[in-house]
Symmetry: C2
Subunit: 383 residues, 2 copies
């Protein structure tokens, strides 16, 4: 039996190599996109240095672990030469971190969310994070799904413009020690870190701007929503109306209407309420629907009807007449969001962390759609 042992071993190892070789081939075939990459153990073999030491050097722990500087430079140079990149998936599995931040906005199409997303992406990237975006369409169910999806992908934290009804999910994230920053609107019943604007003051100032320019019958076109930002805009409008001693006139439209549906509803509203001489729109896309309605009714702005939009947009500058708008401080908001998120990311225990609410001021960009026409007020009812 002994003489055979060698042969058996040989046959065995030959078989092993054949299988190994086949499986390599199979893997290359099967794994699209998976470059035959160098692993840390390949480096270890080549350099005759353990993977441990290489890993320490890679993670900047060379001095902490007192790796000799010769070894360090040797490793660094070799890595440079062969272009080694650690496998982030393996890293993520091991550490439980992904260096990915999830950002849920209402709609990435919307110019406000698109511009804030852009600033956040750039800033986060500089800090070593990648941001993944998704649109909730302000739907509770879609937001829940997305939170689940991103958690499954092991994101490190969330930036969320929350739709209504996801208090439970946000609380669950925080309890599981997952950093969350809310922006644009918050959820009053739960304690979170929020980056908001002064919606009340924005709407209040805009309405007063209309009064100051001689307009008196001011309507407010908004969404049928109890969300904090919409509620505050409504309150700001109503405060100004009350203070002026006039009557409010409010149109509430449901979410997720198409552009043509919005303009149709606004058209009907304007036709039924010919006394109106000005309208404040609670969002940029409502204002765009309004512009369409106004065009269709052949009304002149601001002679027949003055308008102001909440959220600025390039379009408002291009329309004739250009549209006065309440601008949100996009740059400032984005920076504050990132700042707060980085703070949370650095903290071990989310529940212990102090929750802050930052409120930034809006700025009224005065253009031509709401300037003083006191001498020729409301030609429409006259005509």
């Amino acid at each position: 039996m002994i003489p055979h042992a060698g042969i058996i071993v040989l046959a065995d190892s030959l078989l092993f190599y054949i299988i190994y070789f086949l499986s390599i081939l199979f893997l290359i075939k099967k794994n699209n996109c998976l470059k035959k990459k160098i692993s840390i153990h390949d480096l270890a073999r080549e350099l005759k240095i353990s993977a441990t030491t290489i890993s320490f050097v890679l993670n900047g722990k060379a001095t902490e672990k007192r790796i000799s500087s010769e070894v360090e430079t040797k490793i660094l140079e070799y890595i440079q030469k062969v272009g080694y990149k650690p496998n982030l998936v393996a890293q993520s599995l091991r550490t439980g971190k992904s260096k990915i931040i999830a950002m849920l906005v209402e709609s990435i199409d919307d110019s406000f969310f698109a511009s804030i997303a852009k600033v956040i992406e750039v800033t986060a990237y500089k800090l070593g994070y990648k941001v993944f975006f998704a649109s909730t369409e302000n739907e509770t169910e879609k937001a829940k799904q997305l939170i689940r999806l991103f958690r499954d992908r092991q994101v490190d934290g969330f930036i969320i413009a929350p739709p209504p009804g996801i208090e439970k999910e946000i609380t669950a994230l925080l309890e599981d020690n997952c950093p969350v920053i809310l922006f644009d609107r918050h959820l009053p019943t739960i304690t979170t870190t929020n980056v908001l604007i002064d919606n009340f003051d924005g709407a209040f100032s805009a309405t007063n701007h209309l009064f100051e320019n001689g307009f008196k019958k001011i309507a407010f076109v908004t969404l049928d929503s109890t969300q904090s930002q919409m509620q505050a805009r409504l309150d700001g409008y109503q405060k100004a109306i009350k203070q002026a001693g006039t009557v409010s006139k409010i149109l509430k439209l449901s979410y997720n209407l198409l552009h043509t549906e919005i303009s149709e509803k606004i058209k009907e509203f304007l036709q039924k309420n010919k006394q109106l001489d000005a309208v404040l729109f609670a969002t940029n896309y409502l204002a765009l629907g309004g512009v369409d309605a106004i065009n269709q009714l052949n009304l002149k702005v601001p002679e027949n009807l003055a308008i102001i939009a909440f959220d600025d947009d390039l379009i408002f500058q291009l329309l004739s007449p250009s549209v006065t708008a309440v601008a949100q401080p996009v740059q400032e908001m984005s920076e504050e969001v990132i700042k707060q998120l980085m703070k949370s990311l650095a903290v071990e225990d989310q529940s212990a962390q102090q929750k802050e609410t930052i409120i930034l001021k809006t700025k009224l960009i005065v253009r031509k759609s709401a300037i003083n026409f006191s001498s020729v007020k409301n030609l429409r009812t006259a005509g």
Copy 2:
């Protein structure tokens, strides 16, 4: 010594458990966002069924592997009950697949790219894929970085609107067996699967539409770019001009100008070329810059100057007068892109796969900015 052995073992294992317990605590502390999740082995322990069998059931291989249906339903019910979700990172590390598609567009801000991104996201999601977006700003270096970044994250495939100069990177992807679909523009020197529109015909028809409406001195405002889509639009314009026997007048602007810079350059161009009675803009944002310039010059559209834009946009419908545009078939393009990508994803060897180029037709949306004013041509030079 022997009497002590038991004690040592006990002390040893006690220590072990203390350390184990502490490290668990430490892990929970350290790993933000990492829910203490159930693993497949936890399930195996509870159910007294091997992880292998559970994995087979989970991956729909129950019948293939001839798992008894009792075992299958038992597993399925338990999973349902405890809400088990496999760890996608581990799955990805093991299989080399991520079910993630990377999509590189010029700018996610741009309405054309935003709308195509949206359709693709929804469609891909239904097919079990998540799409991650990023903007190249048409910069070669940024695109290279993004490709690297996404490969590090182990994406399964790419959808790319390529900036110039990344032929090498695209080729490398294909060689590494990574599915790539180009759209909007292609790279003529390499063989890839492309989903394009008929840019030549779009520009040709638009120019002819201007001729048919009585305009004669037609300029073309485009980007200083050799990219395929821009080249084809230029060629289409020139063909129409030549066929009509008139002279061409072209303004080439560099990429990445700000809106105000674009409108400034166009303003200068229009002032220097008062003979012009129409302009075809090669992109939607060039047209918006043009609208701004035209407003500043107090020109009337189309009486003084007719305009047509390439790429439709909601804004064009809202401007007064509304702007005629060459619309790209967004829905159709998106579907075609996904279809081609899924085809590539199913193929083992990318180099062996037949590369197709799909060319879709554009549609001219006739609005008011280029309608017939043959009786009152070019008032500007007259006035």
